[in-house]
């Protein structure tokens, strides 16, 4: 299983993601710097979390315009699995690879805590390791995770099963519409989510609920 992690200055959960992918696949991911225009053939491309370019403009707005993102878009078009977590999700939205926007948390504060996620659609390549309706634990750590989309887009997302994770049991930490925590593209090969599955994959993390997501994406039997 080959994976790649996109690196942009200011991302800071790259090391977490690299460590998680290394533990799950048994080999370190390829890293791709922001100026590169080619991404090698891999099974999964991940844009990790952080504050690309400080997020001094809209979150992810500058990162989405770096050369490497054209290569990511091309790979996504070819059907390669692409996953953006936290700032990575924000970048995918800004790059137009997923619909909607992420606004400031409703509390206007950064929030780091464990939440509950409901697997809203277990019928995607990413979520096939979970059961539909399954409640999993997952940490969040963000300031701008308040998902929003217009009514028409929401209807489509909900209607076509593109909402894959929802904050459950009253744990919505940011005010996201419909408790949306993660969505996939219509083709199902691009996932964006605010929570951090890479921080819950082993005993030292106090649980491994995030692991099945990577295993699903990579087709590794759990």
């Amino acid at each position: 299983m080959k994976t790649a992690v996109v690196l942009l200055p200011g991302l800071n959960r790259d090391r977490d993601m690299i460590a998680a992918l290394t533990k799950i696949t048994g080999r370190p991911p390829v890293t791709v710097w922001q100026t590169e225009t080619d991404i090698p053939d891999v099974d999964l491309i991940v844009i990790p979390g952080g504050f690309s370019f400080g997020d001094y403009l809209r979150c992810g707005a500058i990162g989405a315009r770096m050369p490497v993102m054209r290569a990511v878009a091309e790979k996504a078009r070819q059907g390669v699995m692409v996953m953006g977590v936290c700032n990575g999700f924000q970048i995918l939205l800004e790059a137009g690879l997923l619909p909607g926007a992420l606004m400031r948390n409703a509390t206007l504060k950064f929030v780091c805590r464990e939440v509950k996620l409901e697997v809203a659609n277990a019928n995607t390549a990413f979520t096939r390791g979970y059961a539909a309706g399954q409640i999993i634990r997952c940490p969040v750590a963000h300031h701008d995770g308040n998902y929003f989309a217009d009514a028409e887009t929401l209807t489509r997302l909900e209607g076509e099963g593109q909402v894959v994770f929802r904050y459950a049991e009253g744990t919505n930490p940011n005010g996201s519409v419909n408790d949306i925590a993660g969505i996939v593209s219509r083709e199902g090969n691009v996932l964006g989510m605010m929570p951090h599955p890479e921080n819950l994959i082993e005993a030292a993390h106090g649980g491994n609920d995030g692991r099945a997501l990577f295993e699903g994406a990579l087709g590794i039997a759990a």
Binding site: P9, G10, R15, D16, F53, F110, C112, H196, E198
Partner: protein
């Protein structure tokens, strides 16, 4: 506007630079002429209290700083301690009190940025941060504003930089009304053979400026931090720097890449008094002169004068001496990270610090004397009076359950979740224990079993009542918190926050606290390897409580044996290790007296250091032997609060039922030192337990079996049972309600 270098040097100007008349005479004597305006600025930057430690140095020298594992003690950017397998931990704590009071978000943010830079300047990747925050009383009109700003500033910088905040303190007291404390701690991990120092080596080598551009922010900041506040404090806002965590993150990655390339000979971050302090430090330590050409310094404002450039405290900047043959490689790394890189000077052999600006020499000073010949004071001090003990019959009564609920809902003992959920506690994926327990714990990246524990502690009301015992207690409490996780305490950093040292009673607090800290560190084998002194924490002549914050680091060989405070299961025996015969006795200066009865009298609990060590070593051994299932130290609020914390962390209740004929208030709320609660996974009536009791007995440690875990209520002796849910409600409620 440009300030020329020809500003006449008047008495007023000298005084505005924080230099006393005798200090100015000393300058005249050293250089044999009147200083230029820029030179006066340089002296003021180097000789202020913040940079020169002129009032504290004499006493700091008495602290134990050496130990088997200590690689670098005080005097470097941070302390360095061996953790085995070729790795070391690099750490320090530093205050940003004055800036945070003036501009809480940026003051706190740049405090975090500064301490992170101290750590990675030495070649270490930061892996953990803590913050000890102290604010005025909750109903003071500025307090909420300061809490909100400081907490979001700490989070805003640390979260974006990418370091987990794993511990800290938040406390409220009227003595901080006009002077909040922001003490930032950071720790990093490096290879023992990959430590970088500030000492320059080699003549004629390029001095390189890296990082962000220089602006006018923070000009005179260190001098500001060495003065008392008055009501005109708002006028000092322009002296606070502005932080840019994105640039700092890039600077971290670029510096570590550059260090790995072998290009770096010496490196020094620009902190207080920026370019001045860093250049003088590199030259003076290496017995070299430094020549700077300010026309080469990257600036972001127009027409900056030499004076402003030399005193700017713009953040995220570094000075390095590089191998000349590797200049191109170095420049490429910095370009990749979008950072400025400029050769701004060279090392010389004349031991002069010379500064050129627009073709003119604006300063030429003896470099060694700038640092080494700073004034040093043996300030007069008064032995603080010790408060009278409480009379034997002076045990104010209260219902134990009510008092516990009052304490858990109080400003100082309630949950700090509102604060630490604004910090990224999980980033890097190595956090094993988060804030809210005894110590924060992170795994050592790249090692299968090792972890580091971090704790920050001081009890200022103890220090106020008796600085010597309070100083001891701060160290012992930190050592105890590390021990409670199973960690072996390695070393500590101190952040000494006091009032105006020119007042003998304040100087007396300082001297006695240091003596207490020194005594405890020696007894516990817990050397001080780095630190920071913050004096003049006064507003309108009223000082803060003496607050010597201790930040400690401990090593856990195998994190699978680590213990947490949460009760592990129902039906386990609870032991009070290190108890006096009646379990608890000391109510002087207790949280119970303060928060239930509004009294702040009596002496603080004394710390028996010999006993402290024996009990702690015994508890640590029990943890490592695997018989302990949960462990928590006793501190503010005594036995009752400690039990409640263990219950709230787990949801498991407990019954303490062995309290026959003992007066319940001192038992449950006494703050006697050197005590731990442990639960055991063995039969308390079985032979293994009998062996443990015999062992404890032989060590002179009293370890009564006080009750058992189980149920969903906490029942303390004869008091009514309180549900764990009700405890949590009041404990979690105070902070969010306060902040609205």
């Amino acid at each position: 506007m440009t300030i020329p270098n020809t500003v006449p040097i008047t008495e007023d100007l000298v005084s505005a630079h924080g230099l006393k008349p005798d200090e100015y005479q000393r300058i005249l004597g050293l250089i044999g002429r009147e200083p230029s305006f820029t030179e006066l600025g340089i002296f003021s930057a180097m000789w202020n209290e913040h940079c020169s430690y002129k009032s504290s140095k004499r006493w700091l020298r008495t602290l134990p700083t050496k130990g088997e594992r200590v690689i670098h003690g005080p005097g470097e950017n941070a302390g360095v301690v061996d953790i085995g397998d070729g790795d070391c931990v690099v750490f320090k704590m530093e205050s940003h009190n004055h800036p945070s009071y003036i501009e809480p978000y940026q003051g706190a943010a740049t405090g975090v940025g500064g301490i992170l830079r101290d750590v990675f300047t030495m070649g270490a990747r930061p892996v953990a941060a803590m913050n000890a925050l102290r604010f005025g009383e909750p109903n003071h009109p500025k307090t909420r504003h300061l809490v909100a700003g400081v907490v979001s500033g700490v989070g805003g910088y640390g979260n974006a930089f990418g370091v987990p905040t794993v511990g800290g303190e938040v406390e409220f007291d009227a003595s901080y009304n006009g002077n909040c404390l922001v003490n930032a701690f950071a720790a990093g991990i490096a290879k023992t053979d990959g430590i970088f120092l500030s000492k320059a080596e080699g003549v004629g080598l390029p001095v390189v400026y890296l990082g962000a551009k220089t602006g006018r922010d923070g000009v005179g900041g260190a001098t500001m931090a060495s003065a008392e506040f008055d009501d005109q404090i708002e006028e000092k806002r322009p002296t606070v720097q502005v932080g840019d965590p994105f640039t700092e993150k890039c600077l971290l990655e670029a510096c570590l890449e550059l260090m790995a390339s072998g290009a770096v000979i010496a490196i020094q971050d620009m902190g207080a008094a920026g370019l001045t302090c860093s250049a003088v430090e590199m030259g003076a330590k290496g017995d070299l002169g430094i020549e700077l050409d300010l026309d080469k310094v990257p600036v972001r404002e127009e027409r900056m004068s030499a004076y402003e450039m030399m005193l700017s405290e713009s953040q995220e900047r570094m000075l390095m001496v590089l191998r000349p043959e590797m200049e191109d490689d170095a420049a490429a790394i910095f370009r990749k990270w979008g950072l400025d890189f400029a050769i701004v000077g060279k090392t010389t052999d004349d031991l002069r610090f010379s500064v050129l600006h627009q073709g003119e020499e604006v300063a030429n000073l003896p470099i060694k004397e700038l640092g080494d010949q700073a004034p040093e004071y043996d300030r007069p001090w008064l032995v603080p009076a010790t408060p009278k003990p409480l009379a034997d019959d002076d045990v104010p009564e209260a219902d134990v359950a009510d008092a516990l609920l009052t304490l858990l809902a109080s400003p100082n003992l309630s949950s700090r979740r509102w604060v630490w959920e604004q910090y990224d506690t999980l980033i890097q994926g190595n956090s094993l224990q988060l804030p809210g327990g005894d110590a924060g714990v992170v795994r050592v990246d790249g090692h299968a079993t090792k972890a580091l524990a971090f704790s920050s502690d001081v009890t200022p009301r103890y220090c106020e009542a008796d600085p010597f015992e309070g100083g001891k207690q701060a160290v012992a409490e930190c050592w105890r918190n590390l021990t409670a996780t199973g960690a072996l305490p390695l070393a500590a950093t101190d952040n000494l926050n006091f009032g105006n040292p020119e007042r003998p009673e304040i100087m007396g607090q300082f001297v006695r606290a240091i003596e207490g800290i020194g005594e405890a560190c020696r007894a516990l084998g817990f050397p001080i390897v780095s630190g920071n002194v913050s004096l003049y924490n006064e507003t309108n002549g009223k000082g803060i409580m003496p607050t010597p914050t201790i930040g400690g680091v401990g090593l856990i060989d195998d994190w699978q044996t680590m213990k947490r405070a949460a009760f592990a299961a129902d039906g386990e025996a609870i032991l009070l290790v290190g108890a006096p015969p009646s379990w608890g006795t000391h109510l002087g200066q207790s949280a119970y007296l303060r928060d239930v009865h509004g009294r702040r009298d009596g002496p603080p609990p004394p710390v028996d250091l010999d006993k402290e060590k024996r009990v702690g070593d015994f508890v640590r051994r029990l943890i490592r032997d695997g018989v302990v299932t949960a462990c928590h130290d006793l501190s503010d609020g005594g036995l009752a609060v400690a039990l409640a914390e263990m219950a709230m962390a787990s949801g498991v209740g407990a019954t303490v039922n062995q309290v026959n004929d003992i007066s319940p208030v001192p038992v449950f709320f006494g703050e006697d030192q050197g005590r731990y609660l442990v639960t055991l996974g063995i039969d308390p009536q079985g032979p293994q337990m009998a062996d443990l009791w015999r062992e404890a007995d032989a060590l002179g440690i009293f370890m009564p079996w006080i009750g058992s875990t189980g149920g969903r209520e906490l029942k303390l002796g004869e008091a009514r049972a309180v549900s764990v849910a009700a405890l949590r409600d009041v404990h979690e409620g105070w902070f969010p309600t306060f902040m609205g």
